[in-house]
């Protein structure tokens, strides 16, 4: 079995330390991490490998600094890692990204046929959840998103059965391999890397593929050029025109502040008053 896992290295926005006094964000020296959602995909891929044998190749499109993320993925037990990196790929939105990854997966497929492609549900820095479906469409893989469990893989018949999270319940789907699966967060727990795997990862050669090795056919479809969307503005939120009404708080007399607040809210917010009225004992609707 040959499984490909796509990961992304992202800035670590969750492990940012906060200054204990000013509550500002401390960002110096905070490393980039593997997109946390991808780890569920990685673990699922490794579990399938444990069960059915075969290899797991982990790939990522990114700058040269993204290599450590792939090395970390190797340390959990993946067999091979490929960093798809080329200056021309930068500035890519999800359409351009799925094009590059799909091309690379095609090349990998030529080396060893790929049975399953895993991606994470979404990234913590982009949140769009589009790359997985994009790759599936380009490679004509059956798409299974928000998978919470892989029930069975029937290699003889090339079939896979999964549970997929839907609104109000779970769909049990069966489809044909090869397929692309995006894993739901919380669907598994990442294993602890073993010492031999840590050593292997530390010594491994990470393949670096540029546009040629990745098999890019149309350069107009990559990077900034291949991105239909563009960020036109980045901004902080506009503070509300009206400043918040300050209620002075005296710790020795907390009731005073609360009474003042309550009085103001009831006077100035009819919807709140109405809601609270519905919670009064003996309230009867008209």
């Amino acid at each position: 079995m040959h499984i490909v896992v796509c990961i992304k290295q992202v800035p670590d926005s969750t492990h940012i330390r906060v200054h204990p006094v000013t509550n500002t964000i401390m960002r110096q020296g905070v490393p980039a991490i593997i997109n946390p959602y991808d780890l569920f995909a990685l673990e699922e891929a490794l579990r399938l490998k444990d069960k059915h044998g075969g290899r797991v190749t982990v790939i990522s499109m990114g700058p040269p600094q993204a290599a450590p993320a792939l090395r970390k993925a190797l340390s959990f037990g993946c067999n091979d890692a490929v960093l798809i990196t080329d200056k021309i790929f930068s500035g890519a939105d999800t359409l351009a990204t799925s094009y590059v990854l799909a091309s690379a997966i095609k090349m990998l497929n030529a080396e060893t046929p790929v049975d399953i492609v895993f991606t994470g549900k979404q990234t913590i820095d982009g949140d769009t959840a589009q790359v997985g479906p994009g790759i599936a469409k380009r490679l004509e893989l059956e798409l299974l998103t928000y998978v919470s469990r892989i029930n069975a893989v029937d290699r003889a018949n090339g079939q896979i059965t999964v549970e997929r999270r839907a609104e109000g319940g779970v769909q049990v789907l069966q489809t044909r391999l090869p397929a692309l699966i995006t894993m739901l967060e919380g669907s598994n727990e990442l294993r602890f890397a073993t010492t031999p795997n840590m050593f292997r990862a530390a010594r491994a050669e990470i393949r670096h593929w540029d546009r040629t090795s990745a098999g890019i056919e149309d350069l107009k479809l990559v990077g900034l050029k291949g991105s239909p969307t563009i960020v036109s503005r980045v901004f902080g939120p506009t503070p509300r025109a009206e400043k918040a009404v300050q209620i002075d708080f005296d710790p020795s007399n907390p009731e005073a502040a609360c009474e003042a607040l309550l009085a103001k809210v009831l006077a100035e917010s009819p919807r709140v008053k109405k809601e609270l009225a519905q919670r009064l004992p003996g309230y009867q609707e008209d």
Binding site: R17, H19, P20, V21, T22, T24, I25, M26, R27, Q28, G29, P31, P68, S75, F192, A193, T194, T195, P196, M198, F199, A202, R203
Partner: protein
């Protein structure tokens, strides 16, 4: 793990990196294990890089190492609530290459240093925590065990460079637990300002820099120091006090730093800056008398894990690099000759240290920790006395100079008594011999 290395180094801070680099360059099979996610992730320093120590390891480091500013001015401030009296030394000689000291940012520097270590041929693995030392039946250390499945890794010798807490050395019984009276708890912030602002506030041009070391009211009666260093586009500011004092006074280091930043001589220097990093760490302060056994059967201690810090001159990273290098050189000599690294044979490590400035400086100042701790007048009385004297001296108010002099002397005598003053002079002289 069936693999065996010549040397395993625990820790990827300056001591560990210096040892690993030196050993790898000599062709030995080196494994370096770091507990943190990346080399330097657990390290915190002001930070000042002492070129002479690094030169002895990587002579051409200046070509590629990320350096902030080279230091041309050193200021020593003795602070009171609203004032300071101090000395400055600035020299244009410090402004010609090769520069003697630099400010650095540890996150970037450690990353560079580790790259050199790996390029030299050492295998560096992060997120590997050493749980214990492995010993053979005779008690010789023959490797380490990590906190992962299949975690026994073997080597001829182990260098422990695992920092002030040195969990491994402590667990292995090679040294005692940290004593609150032997370490300081220090905190620092990095405050970002435009390069031009830093240059105009500190009278600098190009990449030159200033270092300010501070004593006195900023540590609020505790034994400790503060500092302010200039980086390219940031200032590193910090303060620390003996852990035992902090516990007794129930001060938090954060509060201490906030008040220090508000000092009228300090706040204008950092005004308008954006704080973008906050970190805290322990610093060994016990000096020579607190040194444990630094070598044994198959093992050596280097850097902070042994407590190699010169608390008077605030030097630690150069001692770390020096001890790391000398430990490596000791092992290179033994292992290349096929001699086993027994306790007796490793005595060469201590001999090398005794020859170097490391032990000489540690010995010279061995009485300081005790002196400062027992005789609080140096922290509590002299800064205000000296500041008061300077204030009187420099205020022109119609009082004649002779009576000013008399008042100054009287203030000293009143506070310390004649006997006390003589005693202080004597104790200070003795402590620095």
């Amino acid at each position: 793990m069936s693999e065996k290395f010549d040397v395993i180094i625990v820790g990827a801070g300056p001591a560990g990196n210096s040892a690993a680099y030196t050993l790898a360059k000599a062709g030995l099979r080196v494994l370096q294990l770091e507990r943190g996610e990346y080399p330097g992730s657990k390290n915190v320093q002001g930070a000042i890089l002492y070129a002479s120590s690094l030169e002895r390891i990587i002579p051409d480091f200046r070509e590629t190492a990320p350096l902030e500013r080279h230091i041309i001015e050193q200021r020593l401030w003795m602070m009171d609530e609203k004032s300071f009296i101090g000395t400055h030394y600035r020299s244009d000689d410090f402004n010609s290459e090769p520069y003697n000291r630099y400010t650095i940012i540890r996150a970037r520097f450690d990353k560079w240093f580790s790259e050199q270590v790996q390029a030299a041929g050492a295998l560096v693995i992060c997120e590997m925590t050493v749980r214990a030392l492995l010993r053979n039946e005779q008690g010789r250390v023959i490797g380490v065990e990590v906190e992962r499945e299949d975690g026994k890794i073997y080597a001829d010798a182990v260098i422990l460079a695992d920092g002030v807490n040195s969990l491994v050395a402590t667990q292995a019984g090679l040294r005692k637990d940290i004593q609150a009276g032997n370490v300081a708890l220090a905190v620092k912030e990095m405050i970002f300002l435009p390069k031009e602002t830093i240059e105009s506030r500190f009278n600098l041009a190009g990449q030159s820099g200033v270092v300010i070391e501070m004593l006195g009211s900023i540590t609020e009666g505790m034994v400790g120091t503060g500092f302010l260093y200039t980086n390219k586009d940031s200032l590193a500011i910090g303060v620390g006090g003996m852990l035992s004092d902090m516990k007794a006074q129930k001060t938090t280091p954060v509060e201490l730093l906030e008040r220090m930043k508000a000092h009228p001589s300090i706040s204008p220097l950092i005004a308008g800056g954006e704080t973008r990093e906050y970190a805290a760490h322990l610093i060994p302060e016990g000096g020579y008398k607190a040194l444990p056994q630094i070598y044994g059967d198959g093992w050596l201690l280097v850097g902070d894990s042994a407590g190699f810090v010169n608390s008077v001159h605030r030097e630690g990273s150069n001692l770390a690099m020096e001890t790391g290098r000398l430990a490596a050189e000791t092992l290179i000599e033994l292992l290349q000759a096929g001699t086993e690294p027994s306790t007796a044979n490793l005595a060469g490590y201590k001999a090398r240290l005794d020859e170097s400035f490391v032990m000489k400086d540690m010995k010279k100042y061995q009485k300081i920790p005790e002196t400062l701790h027992k005789r609080r007048q140096f922290i509590n009385d002299y800064p205000p006395l000296l500041n008061g004297a300077a204030h009187k001296f420099f205020t022109v108010d119609g009082q004649d100079k002779r009576s000013k002099e008399k008042e100054i002397i009287a203030s000293f005598v009143k506070r310390r008594s004649l006997f006390g003053l003589l005693g202080d002079a004597y104790h200070l002289w003795r402590a620095t011999r």
